[in-house]
């Protein structure tokens, strides 16, 4: 099996190298791939993606460590390779991450509770949101920044400086005593608790395990980080990250995250590859059936003859 780990930043490179080493220890081939070395091609005959002249479709599995700024580029790669290579997230699920409101609504529609959220992209619309929510509010920007707003002046000042088409979400703020971050890898859920600046291992209640696994399964990802906020005797999904802080989880919990990750990547890739082969065989059989039907070898036309 040949695995590629695509990264977009310095932190991405470090994590990609650690994951690769762990995959190699499992006896499989693995290569870190710098996104900046990737060349995309589209032409009459098809689309393709290469890194240093190696076709990315030749990999059995491609794992993405995507970062906000490069989401569209990552999406283009996934779109090109998706029918040929097992990717760590499918094309249509990755699109949800283009927008925080989109992923929140997706989770909400699957009964993963969210509070009332507003999304807007212009100062003129922001005033309506402020009227509805009333101060204080918390604004979240596409880069993940969350800014609590207590005064109308700060709100106006902040909103007037936003670039057009920046989708901002607004909610009522919560003041949780602690936050819970989970790292989901396959069926494994590893959790940390963040209280103020200190982060420690967390004895995970079943609700968090179930919700974490549900998020990962709905998104069909190899892995993800789910951030929870405690709210009214329950936990709300606040954020989902496709590039978790693996090193932090390993450091805090002492679990061998990269080993777990490596065996999960290999087993998921094998499992999905089998599904892909099955799907492609059944598509070919259907194609042949349609062709036989068309030329009258099988079906009603044959009976007529």
């Amino acid at each position: 099996m040949k695995v590629g780990i695509i990264y977009f930043s310095k932190r991405g490179r470090e994590e990609a190298e650690r994951i690769c080493n762990a995959v190699k220890e499992e006896g499989e081939e693995c290569f870190p791939i710098d996104a900046k070395t990737i060349l995309l091609y589209a032409g009459e005959d098809d689309a393709a993606a290469f890194s240093q002249e190696n076709g990315l479709r030749s990999f059995d599995s491609l794992v993405f460590l995507p970062e906000e700024e490069y989401f569209e580029f990552a999406y283009m790669i996934i779109k090109i390779v998706y029918d040929y290579t097992v990717t760590s997230i499918p094309c249509e699920k990755f699109r949800l991450f283009f927008n925080r409101a989109l992923i929140q609504r997706f989770l909400a529609s699957h009964k993963l509770s969210v509070r009332k959220v507003y999304a807007f992209s212009e100062a003129t619309a922001a005033n309506f949101v402020l009227k509805e929510l009333k101060l204080p509010v918390i604004l979240q920007f596409p880069d993940g920044r969350r800014i609590p707003i207590k005064s109308e002046d700060t709100f106006t000042e902040l909103i007037s400086g936003i670039k057009r088409d920046t989708v901002i979400t607004a909610e009522k703020p919560l003041k949780p005593e602690f936050l819970v971050w989970t790292l989901v890898i396959g069926d494994e859920v590893i959790a940390c608790e963040k209280k103020g600046e200190s982060i420690s291992p967390f004895n995970t209640p079943s609700e968090i395990i179930e919700k974490s696994l549900k998020v990962s399964s709905l998104l069909s990802t190899f892995f993800c980080q789910v951030n929870f906020i405690p709210y009214r005797n329950s936990f709300l999904v606040n954020e989902v990250r496709l590039f978790p802080d693996f090193a932090l989880f390993e450091k805090i919990t002492g679990k061998n995250v990269y080993k777990i990750l490596a065996s999960s990547i290999i087993s998921k890739a094998k499992e999905r590859k089998k599904e892909m082969i099955k799907r492609s065989i059944s598509q070919s059989i259907n194609g042949i059936k349609r062709w036989l039907l068309e030329i009258g070898i099988i079906g009603p036309r044959r009976e007529k003859i």
């Binding site: 995309l40 689309a47 619309a125």
Partner: protein, 288 residues
Amino acid sequence: MALLGPEERRYSELRLLKEAKKVFETVTYFPISKLVLEFDEKEVKILYRGKNILEYDALLPRIPKSYMKFGYLLLCFAREQKIPIPISPESVLYTHNKFLTLIALAQANVPIPKTYLSLKRATLEKILENIKYPVVLKLLYGCAGKGVMFADSKQSAISIMDMLEAFKQPVFVEEFIKNPGEDIRAFVIGEELVACMKRKAKKGERRANIAAGGVGEKYEAGDEERDLALRAAKALGMKVAAVDILPGKKKYVIEVNVYPGLKGIENATGINVARKIVEKVYELATSV
């Protein structure tokens, strides 16, 4: 019918409004900039001054490049609520990112010029060495002919790309298809090519876009052009699309527009394109 568009209503929006009023009982124009999304576990709303536009029977979006992300979000929410829309939300993302358009077209076997994209110019070095000059350099998010440049040598291509890289403007390289500064704009509605014009670049200009000074004249599309336009629109999930085709012995689709202007095509062909768009939206709304 709810018509979503930019704050400033121009020719196309005004024409669509005028024609829509003849077909629909109620037609309202909503500036995208003033819309707010509201949702929780139970419901989704797209609000304009407190009014939920998802209560309309149909939605006709005119989403300019400057509202691509928010527009995509709006259409995703409208689709979730099963409101008839003549374009898929993805087509907004795809057509504003020109390379994504080309990937979708290539995957649907629609002929396009050979095109290359990378995050870093250095990765394109080998391509720039071997490609035939001149080449076309295009901004990933350009529109109306803006952001299309021509380089006659590797050196000038590198200079342009380095400058754009410094401004963090992604650019891609496209093979140059020899052409006398003409292209064909084919307007697809549903399964039909309803209007077609040939656009000719003004003297000294290679781009034929009307916005770049090009002139349009009525054009009778052949079977191949018709087939290409329909396949291109279908590949992007669009029931209303303006497809740009490079004419010649071998024909290529170079662009698909989700936010096409109507003035040029209506003036050149005398066809009431706005009416046909509105009728398509009505058909979608009544067939639900």
